[in-house]
């Protein structure tokens, strides 16, 4: 629950600008803010990445620990995604148990990682039905400047891509080895501002938004997750357009997450 009220004048201004094809920070409707990925930020994690999109900052840490496979998937490891929208990161977040917003971020990111088969869970199985790796993806929002889903997913992908299996420590293998990442899903979020649909919304744009839609794509051309959020509506044609735009942005973001692009 937020007590922070955004001035209506500002949200109206955001909408006016959008009607003229402009944005508060002078970006084009299809332009991301500057994106940086810093892998290995946390050495206590088995993989980590600090992602910044404009003035949004999200940290993801991966922990890999031995556990038990689920009964219905005895040959697969376990993947758990958890996002914390901690009150440190924004005046709009409050202490306490996870709020619906945090749960939504967790679930949307989790769906993309899972559906894209980012990691092959069967390779995380040690002894079928008895022992498998549990892969914890913990996402910590540090600075909330809007578009948390894209930043969270990019942080998760960056962290997974640079993760090491601590096999030696747990006596499962002679030596540690890299976690194998098979596919590279990235999320791409848009908001509706009047008739305009703009990518990578800032906090102020999210406050003004008349609907939000997120499309996750992978490098093979699959759509691997979608989420419509906030109050507002999109036509099927709107959705088709955002999908095309998501694929376009996805290529570049994948390269950034893998550390092979800028």
């Amino acid at each position: 629950m937020s007590e922070e009220v955004t001035a209506e004048i500002l949200t109206t201004h955001v909408l006016d600008l959008a009607a003229h094809g402009k944005r508060l920070d002078d970006r084009g409707p299809d332009e991301y803010r500057k994106i940086t990925v810093e892998p290995g930020f946390v050495t206590t994690a088995d993989g980590s990445a600090l992602v910044r999109i404009g003035d949004t900052a999200v940290l993801c840490g991966i922990k890999l620990e031995p556990g038990k496979p689920f009964a219905d998937t005895p040959n697969a490891g376990v993947l758990t995604t958890n996002a914390e929208l901690i009150p440190l990161s924004s005046p709009v977040f409050e202490p306490g148990p996870p709020q619906p917003g945090a749960i939504e971020v967790s679930r949307v990111v989790d769906r993309a990682i899972r559906a894209a088969e980012t990691i092959d869970l069967t390779r995380l199985c040690v002894t079928p039905g008895e022992k498998s790796w549990v892969c914890y993806v913990d996402i910590h929002v540090l600075d909330h400047g809007g578009n948390l889903i894209d930043a969270a997913q990019l942080a998760a992908l960056g962290a997974l891509t640079h993760a090491t299996m601590p096999a030696k420590r747990f006596g499962i293998a002679e030596a540690d080895y890299p976690l194998e990442v098979v596919h590279y899903p990235v999320e791409c979020t848009f908001v509706r501002l009047g008739e305009a649909i703009v990518v990578d919304p800032t906090f102020d744009e999210e406050r003004a938004a008349q609907g939000r839609v997120t499309v996750a794509t992978d490098e093979t051309g699959r759509i691997v997750a979608m989420q419509k959020g906030l109050v507002g509506a999109f036509s099927p044609d709107d959705i088709k357009t955002t999908v095309e735009r998501a694929f376009h942005h996805g290529e570049r973001m994948r390269a950034i997450a893998r550390g092979v692009g800028a």
Binding site: V5, A7, E8, I9, L10, H13, K22, D26
Partner: protein, 287 residues
């Protein structure tokens, strides 16, 4: 520990901020001893055992008979007669609560408006999210901030946009004798109203608003250095439409300087011509 500071004077607010913090002033940090040279401890300081210390991060400023520290950061600390911009966060039967960026929400009572408001009818006049220009009327020891909308230049804001800067930056936004804000309005033709609380209302063509925002961002992010006015001036010149068109834009008249409050409060959103009064209505000279 814990008792010693209570021997110091009770500080209320951190009034009397200088309009022009300059690089010449000494930066002090909480707990640093201040050479008081016989001056009394003023805002932002405290005294223990005959010595004066800074209680906040800021610039040392001797103001005989006081020595004080001018804050460089933090939330807005209200002072009587400050004109500020606020956003309605809650509506009650006889008053509205305004977020003015201060430690507490400020109640605006229905009798403090130019409207004849009946009890329970407050929401017909101002809704949550709407913004107003008000004056700080009184502060009481419980931290309650009384504000009024009665007075020249006060009222409800319509149209335009709102930019936030640190309240510590307001003197720089205004400039010496209003020079900075004059530079900004002259180059952009935008209408700008600077609240002492760092909330700034800007109106005009989208392009003009954008250039004002950029200029304000420059002022916000600039260090405590000289030559800021020149840099803002050169940015605004370099982005001037008139330059592209090879036409010199005439400086605007301060046509509406004495316009009645209602004009300001209820004027319709301006057209794209960007015409309108461009004076700084409340510019911090009443520090």
């Amino acid at each position: 520990m814990g008792g010693s500071h209570r021997t110091g004077p009770r500080r209320r607010g951190r009034g009397g901020s200088s309009p022009h913090p300059s690089g010449d002033r000494v930066l002090v940090l909480p707990g640093e001893e201040i050479p008081s040279q016989g001056l009394k401890p003023g805002p932002g300081t405290y005294r223990v055992g005959g010595k004066v210390y800074a209680s906040i991060l800021g610039l040392l400023s001797p103001r005989p008979p006081f020595v004080q520290v001018i804050p460089l950061s933090g939330r807005y600390i209200p002072k009587p007669n400050d004109v500020v911009i606020g956003t309605v966060t809650d509506v009650q039967g006889t008053f509205w609560l305004l977020d003015i960026g201060a430690p507490r929400w400020a109640p605006l009572h229905m009798t403090g408006t130019p409207w004849k408001v009946d009890v329970g009818e407050t929401e017909r006049y101002l809704r949550v999210g709407e913004s107003v220009v008000v004056r700080v009327e009184n502060l009481d020891p419980t931290g309650r901030i009384g504000v009024t909308m009665l007075g020249e230049g006060l009222g409800k804001l319509e149209g335009g946009s709102i930019v936030h800067v640190s309240p510590a930056r307001v003197p720089r936004v205004v400039g010496r004798n209003g020079s900075m804000i004059e530079t900004i309005t002259r180059h952009t033709g935008a209408q700008v109203a600077v609240g002492q609380n760092g909330r700034i209302w800007v109106d005009g063509a989208p392009e003009a608003i954008h250039r004002v925002r950029e200029a304000l961002r420059m002022i916000s992010e600039d260090g405590q250095r000289r030559g800021l006015t020149e840099r803002v001036d050169s940015y605004l010149k370099s982005t001037s439409r008139s330059r592209d068109e090879g036409v010199e834009e005439p400086p605007r008249e301060h046509a509406h300087r004495d316009a009645p409050a209602q004009d300001f409060a209820s004027s319709p959103p301006p057209t794209d011509s960007g015409e309108g009064p461009d004076d700084e209505r409340f510019d911090g000279e009443n520090n």
